[in-house]
Symmetry: D2
Subunit: 383 residues, 4 copies
């Protein structure tokens, strides 16, 4: 009997695990040997020790690597992850490494793969955010051997960056798979578990923008002032551990607890159920511009973090300091429902992923990459 091919997923946050999990599940169910490299925020108690969610998944291997302590700068985290992942790679020897998105852990792993000629697939390349993380994302595109992107727009960017046509697959955004599926829990169960007393609520997720780290406290204070003044109720998810998140956290903690329920993190299925029934989602998480539109839930996108990523009619936008615009959204859009957007696929990314894996050609494509000049580039070049 043939030993099944082994696929090693790298996860550093609850957010990327929410995207990788449907893919890993599909690969596992199709007979591949699946394991996770769990690092980053997952490992820190302060962020909810979300590694437990990975361990909860059955039939997969789990390797833990603590890659930082609180206060470590991102470049030091990067260096530690490179060494740790490279050490592990020598033991694990996977046939494929899967990294996601735009975090420092993903880029460290993709770099190690490129240097060691291990096949690496990058999920959700070609997207823009205007942050330092976007740079990591595009580096991942150049480092990875193949690309599973969420939209045609992303595919176009990945191709422009010189990747070959046959290495880029549009599979859609994988977290939509989870939202499409039955969450397996009821809203009542979710509210009970997370101690959420509200019937009518919005969700708030406000991450730090690294390049604006010094002003995040001010932005959060502005936003939450309007929210608090609205009389409405909110479930607030803690920000990621980027520079500037401390100031946001302090603002969150200062809100009245009877109307603001703050949670370090939620299990993804529970979050999906909560989002589906929310009257709005507010902040600068990609959830607001991608998942909420798929579910038809109205979004208020705040600030610059999702600039150029928000195109659905259900997405509204305001600066944190624009109290009027925020108030208007809370008054007039709150609670509406929009038609589902399919810009980022139809919730079948995992199935698409599995079809790619089952194609023998995928595994035989050479690892040495060549920059592929697009026709219009070639014209410009030769002009």
């Amino acid at each position: 009997m043939r030993v099944p091919r082994s696929i090693h997923f790298v996860t550093g946050t609850r957010a990327d695990f929410g995207k990788l999990e449907p893919l890993a599940r599909a690969a596992r169910d199709a007979g591949y040997s699946v394991s996770f490299f769990v690092t980053g925020m997952h490992m820190l108690p302060r962020y909810g020790l979300t590694k437990i969610e990975v361990h909860r998944m059955e039939g997969v291997g789990v390797v833990e690597f603590l890659n930082h302590r609180e206060g470590d700068p991102q470049d030091v985290i990067f260096a530690k992850t490179v060494v740790g992942f490279s050490d592990h790679l020598r033991i694990l020897r996977p046939d494929l490494v899967v990294v996601h998105g735009d975090r420092v852990e993903a880029m460290a792993a993709a770099l190690v793969c490129a240097i060691n000629y291990v096949r690496c697939a990058h999920i959700e390349g070609g997207e823009v955010s205007g942050t330092i993380d976007e740079i990591f994302r595009h580096c991942n595109t150049k480092l990875a051997a193949c690309h599973m992107v969420s939209s045609q727009q992303s595919r176009t960017r990945v191709l422009a960056m010189g990747e070959t046509d046959d290495s880029v697959y549009v599979i859609g955004s994988p977290e939509l798979d989870t939202h499409r599926a039955d969450s397996g829990v009821t809203l009542e169960a979710v509210r009970a578990r997370y101690d959420i007393p509200f019937d009518d609520y919005g969700i708030v997720i406000m991450h730090a923008v690294t390049s604006e780290a010094d002003f995040m406290g001010k932005q959060a204070a502005d936003l939450f002032a309007v929210l608090a003044g609205s009389g409405r109720c909110f479930v607030v998810i803690h920000p990621n551990n980027d520079p500037g998140s401390d100031a946001i956290q302090r603002v969150i903690e200062a809100q009245p607890h009877e109307r603001f329920r703050a949670l370090p993190s939620m299990r993804f299925a529970h979050f999906s159920e909560l989002l589906r029934h929310a009257s709005a989602i507010i902040g600068n998480s990609s959830t607001g511009v991608r998942e909420a539109p798929f579910l038809g839930v109205p979004s208020l996108d705040i600030g610059t973090r999702q600039t150029n990523r928000a195109f659905s009619p259900s997405v509204h936008h305001a600066e944190a300091a624009d109290h009027d615009a925020i108030g208007r959204f809370l008054a007039t859009v709150w609670g509406h429902r929009f038609p589902a957007s399919t810009e980022f696929g139809g919730g079948n990314a995992a199935l698409n992923f599995r079809h790619i894996l089952d194609d023998e050609g995928f595994w035989n494509r050479p690892l040495q990459k060549n920059f592929h000049d697009l026709p219009w580039n070639r014209e410009a070049r030769d002009a």
Copy 2:
């Protein structure tokens, strides 16, 4: 009086120093405070301890950092360079960091700059080589704030990768500046210094191709067999310290010393004088496809390392195993002179560089980058 702006150049090999030196000299002479971060091969005795060349330059600061020991894999070198450069950056606090090309040290420095919002200029982005190093080069494009490229073709690629029009400058290839200038030494002095007894000679530079590391010994053996059989004389420069270089080195050492003069490295001005008078240059160094054509010296490019980089009529090509083609070149092209090629500029890169620095707008451009979709990409995207 205003404190002059400080520019910190990162150099890891004699090759990139040959390119950075004219730029650094121009910046120094224009009144900027110039320093070098010297690391990589420069620091190892085995590769000629070429850090001495950097120290020889007057009026610039020099910081040394040993980033590896013999045998360290590239990802470990990368991680050590990230930590060391980041530690140094906190002391040096330069206004601009300049990195060159496609080596692991350059990418490590560019990554640290991106994470710490230090302005970084990348020299010779947008070129292709089909090696792992090419990936590092394109990552540098995504990490750096601005780009000083050597040709229109390179500029087109950098733009395709999403960089904005105003961040990409065509300055030409800087080592041509050195070749254009008076070397300051005579051929006789060069031959005396390096103990080169030949009047008529070719130059051989054969680097390892990482993805072909296991076959480099074979390729070198093939090539040198024909060279030895030709009866001609050769100056051989040792390969860079990439995986596979040991095998090449062993082949070099086995050649008859009376007709093969092997040197770990040469001072760049001396090398320029030697190249100008050579009957041919043979191997897979970029010198053969870029500098030799500018000087009109015939090249025989071997193998895949310069694939897609060789367009001048003075450049001939052969596989290492193709004894006939190599022999034919030695017999018929040896000693010819071709018209100078200007594909990579006219030898005035340093002057162009200085003009960029003297433009106040250069220093005020924001460090936060946004992916710039080219018109044809936007069409494809919106289609």
Copy 3:
């Protein structure tokens, strides 16, 4: 209710886990919160992936940290362990860290504890071996806050090194606890599990002596030549991953499989049962000079590794090259039984350990250490 005090054990090899396990079990059963930091050889498949043994222990936490790849020099392993353990310590915040013996991992952890003012207990300090590891052991004595030693002789040495009287406890050698207890398996079960066909067998454990790394192959070849020639049967345990172990390993693999059963490692209880019934133990493991005498099994100690550590009448000694002495032992001492030695305690180290933990004074002793001059030293000093 009071939160129980937390104790974090550091284990890097199957050998030290065999010593730490009885202590950890006793602490756990007494209500302490117990966890393990699993690193070193435990994590490498080549050495039997013995981390599984730690996971098998119920009611304790397990943290894994891969601190090296094959081929890493010991100082690099040391540095990686320092950073990794220090990162983990910030999360775990244990009340006590327990390290054992003389390996690089133990010293790295003890150093981190000393620097961060975390209470650290060192097991089996004050012993001598004449290897580089002995130096690590004595450094551990200077780094640790308290000392649980195996014999009066060791206590005397720890005191001579300046440790205070009240910080040194003689608890005996902990692995004797396991040998004293019922192993829970029968010899038949052990033989079946590990596929050992012999009724009458010796056990061979030959580790590399770092300072003799270049000669270990020769020593192993000498020893195994006599063993093979004796016609007797042997269970051979693979050496630790020290420099020189490869050469030993190659000799082991070259022996006739029908009389030499080689095993990467054994579960400790199974090994205990096997040892109890062995006709002899041969090699340079401490098992031969400490555990075998406690069980009355005859030992042949080879070479310098246990010099000054072997005092029981059941322990015989020979150089690897002394074929006669080895042959004589195999012919005349093989199969004898000796009275149990209590030089290293009576197999109740765990009970002694627990009594120490249950003394409130143990936890309140200050962490700042002062060198305690013994009376005779003070005399010499003041003379």
Copy 4:
């Protein structure tokens, strides 16, 4: 001609360089090839960039290694120094490494030497200070191959720790050599260079005690309150970069500049001339208990840092909070002169050092160490 033996000195602070310099000078003048590994505080601008002092020494090689950034914890600094020193050691391949004292850099280097079987001499082992640094010092004793101590008392301690009689040399304290020699500058030149306007002055050096880091600000405030109230004038040297030094620094900066001249550091010869003419030295530097007594200058030792290290009649002691005792010293002892103390040698450590190097037996002693039980230990052991 024989290649001279090479000696590599490790220096991390201006303090240890003051001790190593006379030894290095003697070795250089005796024909040895001498180089320095310059790291630690030397490299940080904030501490006066004292690496320049090392570069000023003629006829020696200098290797720089930046081993930390501000804020790095000591264990991270340790790990980086281990890797960096080990990388360098592979290039330098010295015959002897010399480390001094009790700092983290010295221990990191001694550890690398022990692991790589490079001969290492430790200067000033066997001394006590009651700080975390004392632990590093005793670890150095166990790691180093030989020991050059400053007093009989220290020798006794090193022997008690198991080192062999022939590996321990009493050479005296090397900085006394500098104080004994003509400083080469006049007091007037020193005062002019460092802008010291006072004719009658005391010197203040107050370092942080790591284990009391949280209280150092209070201690400094107490001490300086009395100093300021005394109306006397003081030259104040900045503290080392240990945890707690920031608070001391802030107190120093708050003193009236017309009577308190604060300096980040001084060249050692200048400092020696200044000390020789000082009316008193105050604080917790070892200068007060060792160098001042040799020069007959009265000392006021503050707090615990020099506990058990101060035995000369010229040394007085007070707690920082004991305003009366400090005031009494300033009123009654200030300006006195005492007979020179020879407890730490006669200022000829460098000559003694050279004699050791010139003994061929020194270089042939085996590197493998064995714990040497002293006679009284053996008795206790065998009892």
